[in-house]
């Protein structure tokens, strides 16, 4: 059955995968980063098609708005003539291809063997507040409180680590 959302999904999927391919094959690093933006935006649209508006927006805020900006920032601070040298492939490309194919096959197998795979998704009730549900699940003791707290502690540790590394010590303290 072909519906509008299926057509949109197919177009977005092709664009996402195509730009993901361009990320690894583009010769210019800034162009590669921009293709990465397109790919991540495609993922955000996929979240939106699944009525996961919160995840779609967070995908844009964090990946496009923060991470790729930092990547571009780092590229801009490097030498311009270091951008376009050499082939995109080295002698290990066969190994990389094999391992990626293996991981992809494992993921497909895992998803297909999941019992919910063949269930037709039902549209959400208009009054269903997915943001509130997500927020409650993150802090409920029978929900995801432990992973949430662990991730918070990990991020805090990374933050402190970054500050310690970047700390400018005065000469007499050395």
């Amino acid at each position: 059955m072909i519906t509008v959302s299926l057509i949109i999904f197919l177009i977005v999927a092709v664009i996402t995968l195509g730009s993901a391919l361009m990320v690894v094959t583009a010769r210019n690093l800034v162009h590669a980063a921009l293709w990465l933006v397109v790919a991540l935006f495609g993922v955000a649209i996929l979240f939106g098609l699944l009525q996961a508006g919160f995840l779609a927006v967070v995908q844009v805020v964090i990946y496009i708005g923060a991470i790729v900006i930092l990547i571009i920032f780092a590229i801009m601070l490097t030498q311009r003539n270091a951008l376009e040298i050499g082939s995109r492939f080295n002698e290990n490309w066969g190994w990389a291809l094999g391992i990626s194919a293996l991981v992809f096959a494992a993921l497909v197998w895992a998803i297909v063997s999941w019992p919910g795979f063949h269930v037709q998704a039902q549209p959400l009730d208009a009054r269903f507040d997915s943001v509130a549900e997500l927020g409650k699940a993150l802090v409920a003791s029978n929900g995801y409180a432990l992973p949430f707290e662990l991730a918070s502690v990990l991020l805090l540790a990374a933050l402190i680590g970054a500050i310690v590394i970047a700390w400018e010590r005065k000469p007499e303290e050395r």
């Binding site: 509008v4 210019n28 800034v30 162009h31 921009l34 933006v37 508006g53 919160f54 927006v57 967070v58 844009v60 805020v61 496009i64 708005g65 923060a66 900006i69 930092l70 571009i72 920032f73 801009m76 601070l77 311009r80 507040d129 997915s130 943001v131």
Partner: protein, 338 residues
């Protein structure tokens, strides 16, 4: 999807863009006129009555200018950058609630995208991608000054985005929703959040000024140090598009500030009685905020780059965090009492 809905969306989108374009044109006029009065001058007064046709004259002049593309520039990105800059400034207003009226037996919601349940986050997302245009313009020009301007502005915008995002948290907590319509409703039931959230309001205003690169934070465009910053190589209409974005963003942040902290389209007694006044009330609030932005530009000198970063990370971020903690604490205590 029915055809009526499509027509409604298209008409609303065209109205929004036309309003923003005319707003841009006359905001430049308003700024020049007010700056002139602040500095005891007359300002534009030759084209048309009291200079009212000046924006038209400027536009026509820019259209007929030669467009120069530097030989060493990355051509595709150089041409795309102004476009990438303009789009976020235009799409961000889609979620702003403007009230609704009953007309022809159906409820007409003035806002473009209706009530998005993650409205505030949508604004955050669009703000966070508005950095791209400036960074790419600076990089693709292949010019040291443009690149420095681009790097400066991206560092500045990333730094102030944190404070801006945390300033959004206050109203969201008070209204216990991320939807902008709920936030305006909550303010119509109590008082404006600017009263309940004074720290959040001030942090928002300062961070917004930095986010749109306005004076006193117009660091990326510091003429003395960077000739003109990221758009130094741009000419003609491409340059006009950067200017368009800058002024459109002024309007946009004023609309967001009015919606989050000044009651949005709602004004006590007035819009309860006549709901169609909603957009006009918001317009009046936006004009006042825009006057404030111009006033700041006429008053304050540009801050130094290191002062800007220190302010962002050592003052704004802790203040915004403190505001979130205080809001949470007060709401918890009030919840305990009630």
């Amino acid at each position: 999807m029915d055809l009526g809905l499509w027509i409604e969306w298209i008409v609303k989108a065209i109205i929004l863009i036309v309003v923003l374009l005319i707003g841009f044109m006359y905001l430049t006029y308003m700024e020049r006129k007010f700056l002139a009065r602040f500095q005891n001058r007359y300002g534009p007064n030759r084209a048309g009555p009291v200079g009212l046709l000046q924006p038209m004259a400027d536009g026509i002049k820019l259209i007929f200018k030669e467009e120069v593309i530097p030989k060493q520039a990355d051509k595709l990105i150089f041409i795309l950058a102004p476009v990438i800059t303009v789009i976020p400034a235009w799409v961000i207003l889609a979620v702003i609630p403007l009230g609704s009226i009953q007309l022809f037996g159906r409820t007409i919601d003035f806002s473009l995208a209706g009530d998005l349940n993650v409205g505030i986050l949508y604004i955050m997302a669009v703000t966070s991608i508005s950095v791209y245009g400036i960074v790419l313009a600076g990089w693709s020009s292949n010019n040291k000054y443009a690149l420095l301007g681009g790097i400066r502005s991206s560092a500045q915008m990333i730094s102030y985005e944190l404070a801006l995002g945390l300033a959004f948290v206050g109203p969201a907590m008070m209204a216990s929703s991320l939807s902008l319509a709920r936030i305006v409703e909550a303010q119509s039931k109590t008082v404006w959040f600017a009263v309940l959230q004074p720290i959040g309001f001030v942090v928002f205003l300062v961070a917004a000024l930095a986010e749109i690169n306005r004076s006193p934070f117009d660091m990326p465009e510091a003429e003395q140090e960077l000739t003109a910053g990221y758009h130094v190589e741009y000419s003609g209409m491409k340059f006009a598009m950067f200017m368009l974005t800058e002024y459109t963003k002024m309007i946009v942040v004023s609309v967001i500030a009015a919606t989050l902290f000044l009651g949005g389209y709602h004004f006590p007694f007035l819009t309860d009685r006549w709901p169609w006044l909603g957009p006009l009330v918001l317009f009046a609030k936006v004009i006042i905020l825009l006057f404030g932005i111009i006033w700041v530009r006429a008053t304050l000198p540009r801050v130094r780059y290191d002062q800007l970063m220190a302010l962002g990370w050592k003052v704004m971020l802790p203040a915004a965090l403190l505001n979130v903690f205080i809001t949470a604490g007060v709401m918890y205590v009030l919840g305990m009492i009630a």
